[in-house]
Subunit: 377 residues, 2 copies
Amino acid sequence: MENRILLLLLTLIPGIGPARIKAITGYLNDLSDVLLADVHELMKVPGIGEPLARQIHNFLHHTEKRQESERAVLEQMAKLQSCGGHMVTMLDPDYPPLLREIYDPPPCLFVRGKLPQTEIPGLAIVGTRQASQYGKECTALLCRELVKSGFAIFSGLAFGIDMAAHTATLEQGGVTVAVLASGVDSIYTDPQGKLWPKIIERGAIISEEWIGSELTPGKFPKRNRLISGITLGTIVVESDLKGGALITAANALEQNREVFAVPGNIFSRTSQGTNRLIQQGQAKAVMHGDDILYELGSRFIKKAATKPATVGTPPSIRLTPEEQTVMRGLGDSPIHIDALAALTAIDVSTLLVHLFELELKAAIEQQPGQFFRKKGL
Amino acid sequence: MENRILLLLLTLIPGIGPARIKAITGYLNDLSDVLLADVHELMKVPGIGEPLARQIHNFLHHTEKRQESERAVLEQMAKLQSCGGHMVTMLDPDYPPLLREIYDPPPCLFVRGKLPQTEIPGLAIVGTRQASQYGKECTALLCRELVKSGFAIFSGLAFGIDMAAHTATLEQGGVTVAVLASGVDSIYTDPQGKLWPKIIERGAIISEEWIGSELTPGKFPKRNRLISGITLGTIVVESDLKGGALITAANALEQNREVFAVPGNIFSRTSQGTNRLIQQGQAKAVMHGDDILYELGSRFIKKAATKPATVGTPPSIRLTPEEQTVMRGLGDSPIHIDALAALTAIDVSTLLVHLFELELKAAIEQQPGQFFRKKGL
């Protein structure tokens, strides 16, 4: 049996969730070994005790149950194909690498469109459904700046900030991904298809939920862990004191990802949650896209794409006056950042931001030990 | 010679500033001993080397110089009296205790009106001269809540946020103090006397500068250290990326005082400085007066007055519904805060805020070990 089918089959075993499937796939050399394993062997998987090991063994060797489940899996794959989708499973190399790191990564993502290449850094932009004009303007500003810096923008395709984030990213020619709480066939916030066909064209609509599965309230917080988990950081643009965006922020903190929030008017209901996140030190205040680059720092450099995550148009190198100053300080031989700071009279922290940008623009390359040089042609 | 006159005399010696006068008064049992000290003795004062010791000795024993300076001091005192003012020097018990703690407390404050009693906690509210409507509304909100909580409000009588803070405090029946960069006779921002006579009536106008002295740009940052130094904390309501309010905030940090800032719209120029302060962790975000009570915590409880710092009307105990809930959990016997939290179903941090308020309203009393009881009648 194909391993991806076997993986989906495992998800149908009662008591087995994403965290345990991660444990099983991590323990076995090859997932197909699970079919050969006896109860004793299964109990060696961390987090799996005797009752669960028996349950897995019974399920896989109870012909009727298993056949029924296999039919369900194949049916699901057919449905997915019929709406133009495909699966990306944790067994695949193109599974999102950051999502793989979380405690409970979904074994399988159902994808319509195309996930961004794994080296393109992603950020989540989320917020209240009751977005104010201010929130929408902030969203547009951040998307504009972040797309320029090469980020793909993830959100939840909800009304309000989420929709604004997808829309603004598309307007900037950027890549955007909508992570749904429903199956990828059911886009209840956009039944007319004003937005989602463009998202599929330039990015993807993804979900861990099966096509045709019922949308229950519990699936929203479950989905939120994916929005935070698939990205380097989550930006909450506007939020009430309660709301899904705060759950996404809490997930991001648990997943050891960055959380950002946009400060706002203290009399505005939709800035109460964001101001509170900042006040309590759970989120860093963000006024510009640069604030995010600065915070992500070296973490970002490692994951960063070498060109903007835009579609269609090849990246042309346009440098700001400051970047030009930095470029004049660089040559074919590597120079240390401290020397470059002295040469350009730009302080190291500011310089770091410009160097990020230049690296994104593929104008320079970094070498070990904080040495930088012009990129060879 | 009267010690206060001697103190003013010392301030006229070139090379002797507030920090050195603090060292001298701290070293001597009685300031008049300075007249008996020889150069060798003066050199024992920390921070005073031989050249300065000689200079002090020469000045005090050079009859002509000294007599000329004495005349200037007496003239200054006459001028002060003629505008209805008085002096409060660091030798006096009613010198503001927090100001006494800073590195360079002014030896003498010239006061018109009456300084708040030393046990009344003070907060500074400062901000840009180009205040927006939002900034004025925030100022009014905070003054309203902080006056209720028993704080005196200090500011700089500049246009914009400063004026709004004095005005709002007066409207709430609170005590406000204007700290000037000019002498107390010269109130250049309010020549018509629309505001300052009320400030004097209900608080004070103070300065360390001599009456008739020239107002130079350097006196504003010098004055700002007093605004931060005389208070428990400084609240920046609105500020550009540069401006005097940020200097006051920097002073407050150096003086180990709290700094607060009100977050605002990221597109508003006058919130750029405050958002930045918050972003960089230099200020705590403030959305309500309670946020300040919470941050000041036990430090505040120690310094707090047992009644609101209002003038004229005796404090009547008005309790919020939450405070009434807390009161119902309290009896004549002390109860521990954890037990009270369980009893009232209010979490401890929220409870602490209510308990502060109730203590301020003299409705309850705290006993060692976080026990609370109703106040005995």
